[in-house]
Symmetry: C2
Subunit: 342 residues, 2 copies
Amino acid sequence: MVTIKDVAKLAGVAISTASNALNGKYGVKESTKKKVLEAAERLNYVPNPIAQGLVNNSTKTISLIVSGPSSYKFITNPAFFEMMKAITEVVNKRGYQVLLNLLTEEEEVQGIPRIAHSRLSDALILIGSRRGDEELTEILTKVPIPSLVVIREPPHDSIASVSWDNLRCGYMATKYLIEMGHRTIGMIGNIPGLKMTEERVRGYMLALQEAGIAYDEALVVEGDYYQDSGLVGIRKLLNQASKRPTAVFTGNDVMALGAMEGLEQEGIRIPEDISLIGCDNIPNLHLLKTPLTTISNPLSEMGRLAARKILGILEGDDELPQHVIVESELRIRSSVKRLGPM
Amino acid sequence: MVTIKDVAKLAGVAISTASNALNGKYGVKESTKKKVLEAAERLNYVPNPIAQGLVNNSTKTISLIVSGPSSYKFITNPAFFEMMKAITEVVNKRGYQVLLNLLTEEEEVQGIPRIAHSRLSDALILIGSRRGDEELTEILTKVPIPSLVVIREPPHDSIASVSWDNLRCGYMATKYLIEMGHRTIGMIGNIPGLKMTEERVRGYMLALQEAGIAYDEALVVEGDYYQDSGLVGIRKLLNQASKRPTAVFTGNDVMALGAMEGLEQEGIRIPEDISLIGCDNIPNLHLLKTPLTTISNPLSEMGRLAARKILGILEGDDELPQHVIVESELRIRSSVKRLGPM
DNA sequence: CTGAAAGCGCTTACAG
DNA sequence: CTGAAAGCGCTTACAG
């Protein structure tokens, strides 16, 4: 292990001078700077970031906290993977490292502060946390480093966020269904108390209202945004709704996949018997048995923005708004059937 | 930020005593140990791992290096995601952190040593590197920390690995195709010089040979194990083979997805016109237009083993063999059609 | 412009 | 059993 001592010795200068030269500080004669740099080069010197971190109180790493429900194995959303990749790419390019942390919902309360206090990272990016706004705000405002939430609505105005417009997602999806002639429309993916989902429901209701369709709460069922809950949700919708929906909006694609499984088991065809629309546009939806129509969210773009935002906060050159909103768009495939006028 | 100084002061002992008590070293009176622990508790003390790392020359983190071809955006294999999750879970549970590094193929040569020399992590796990054996061995043996490769064959006996039996994968897939009556069988996914793929080709040839089917090299085309190459590969197979194959084995599922796209574009049906078998068993294959028959590899299991293996090396309690091989099995769905006797 | 010293938060011999 | 000292590899005032 070659240290700054070695390069100082080889260059024939003091350690502090070597440090100044290496870090491009002002007030180092050109010739000595050159000597130091050459010595470093020759010795293949790489500064020890741990030592730097100790004195700078910064580690140039960012913790990516990905939350899942009760077990990591349920973290199966490819949308998360897309964002993780984009974040890592941008952050690495700017000389930062990404620390990957997986947390179950229960672990969040202890885990987020633990990670933040560990001093192992300079900032936190939270992906997929469903914790209630007050509670999450409570956790994040107590934490000694900047944090950013992704996908969900910001739990509090003081906490930076990168997300899409959840209300608009619900609205666009539902509106499209209505345009295609549907009037009994189900929705899977309500989590009471979680704004992200409430907004999607509100968007759904708004579209209904605009079209003069009465809201029927039996048509909106819970869903935790993991695949299984799509399966459970579609069953509920099929059994308990007073009127079977002709179309269903699932809050995300992964739940649509679950719904597809449930429908398949019941021998109900998509879109012949029931139409389906998702949200996210995860990869390879076009290869499904019934290619899924969905609201396309720019997942990589969001990851990149999240990285830029947190880096901006850290380096003091933040030019992004506190809450970045990203554009979604309808992606038509073939899981929604056109219904004739009633 | 509360430091060990604070807890020492509150407990009324010296810093070194506090340290010994906190670390459960022998030779600390029960009563003073209790005092220290209580003080730590009361102050909510969390040791600074950076400072510990500096003196212990260890950071309790492991670098996960995920390689992709020329751009990170091609790292789309859900199999990688599955393994990353499993590795992170096990490693976190044992008090280690995971540092996520994305590298393009070109960056590997510089990047792997850079990451290893950075002293930011105690060990390296490589996922998805296609670099030739000699070159990778050269890189990894020079590196100052332990490393482990996953999925691919070990580039050298001295380098730990966790993988499945690639020859057997190729053999099982091809044998099943033969049992289903196919005799003109294509394969996508040869990378000359990369043992992992050569083994799969050898398995393919072995099954052919056992069945007395002549090997036709026009039926084996290159593929880089990313989705696009499946599309390119199937086109090549369709156009250049003297005889169009009735079935194709793609080296992994993601290339099978690509092949499906190509076939769809040409209006060729699966399995009616051509049969397809993949390898990996990534999630949600049962929901595809034609549910893909594949060789199922225990991806999470592999991730867990990789984590255990590297932790074992680091902590000196390694009970796993240097090269861990994991069992694969045939997973029959409906992408392979039974052919009548010729 | 350069170097000696202090200090980041911890652990590890070692003296008492 | 306890504490003063040295040291991990670096950076940052500060004196010269």
